[in-house]
Symmetry: C2
Subunit: 176 residues, 2 copies
């Protein structure tokens, strides 16, 4: 919404267009799909109406000559869009938003005591394995970006978090 504040996915989508200067809806979908986080499936049913909404709200614009033979419409972030993006970024510092990190492994760890000793051990060990594989892919993503680019710095956060999760699970393994 232009009047209200941007949703998470709206902010991210707007940011992706901004980063690419000019791109199609499909490119936004692809980038979301390829991102290491699987939080969003980048479904067509979400992306296309969302970008339309942003365009109607004046945060995105597509010039006439932006439609090529295949019917692809190239989008650009407007001045208002940039402003909205900045506002959205600062909104993230809201306590409610900061605390809304979500870790499915941790959600499950809370209920480990329904597992037998052996199952619990297996759960923790397998978690470490899964996390280490995940860590590898996030590190690979990190290597792609050039150092000191915002992309590198942002991905660094994913690596730090994944490392912390591994360290945490190893601590649990010790105490068992």
């Amino acid at each position: 919404m232009p009047a209200g504040s941007l949703s998470e996915l709206e902010g991210v989508a707007l940011g992706i267009v901004q980063k690419r200067k000019r791109c199609t809806a499909y490119a936004v979908r692809r980038e979301l799909k390829q991102s290491p986080s699987t939080h969003w499936r980048a479904s067509a049913g979400a992306i296309y109406p969302l970008l339309e909404r942003l365009e109607r709200g004046g945060l995105l614009a597509s010039t006439k000559d932006s439609v090529d033979g295949r019917g692809r419409r190239h989008l650009q972030v407007t001045v208002d869009g940039k402003k909205a993006l900045r506002t959205w970024i600062f909104e993230g510092l809201d306590p409610g938003v900061v605390a809304s990190v979500f870790d499915p492994i941790r959600s499950r760890a809370f209920f480990m005591d329904v597992l037998s000793r052996r199952q619990r051990q297996k759960f923790v060990e397998d978690s470490i394995g899964a996390l280490e594989r995940y860590l590898e892919t996030t590190r690979a993503h990190l290597a792609e970006g050039e150092r000191d680019s915002v992309e590198y710095l942002a991905n660094l956060g994913a690596v730090y978090e994944a490392e912390a999760r591994v360290k945490w699970m190893k601590k649990i393994l010790e105490s068992a």
Copy 2:
């Protein structure tokens, strides 16, 4: 769903009832509300139908004498429910689930370059402040649980993650 697999919220709700042995829907809501993660608002419109669904599916049961004068129905996890809970826990090791961590600060950090030098500095510094306040509340939660309880160990994960996020943001501050 009893036949299929549990959703995230279903797993968590079932786990909360299991942990308490026997509790009302309201107690589940309250625990979700008071949890340090604000990922779920624990809205009545979600919890009550969800618990009904689990009961119809045979994962939860409420005995007749469980209804007290105030109409509170006390729920218990059935044998099938315990089995479903264990399955759900192990399902979390699925790569798609492991990778679905979601950090709103990191989402925003990807697009920091739309900010001016000063704005960016402010964003990072304010983020550190917000994260440190969040870290304080997660540490407080940690102190409540007795050491070596699963609750303590699970909350430890939240602390590790929050520490990693602070460390990450301070790293960004250095490189600016």
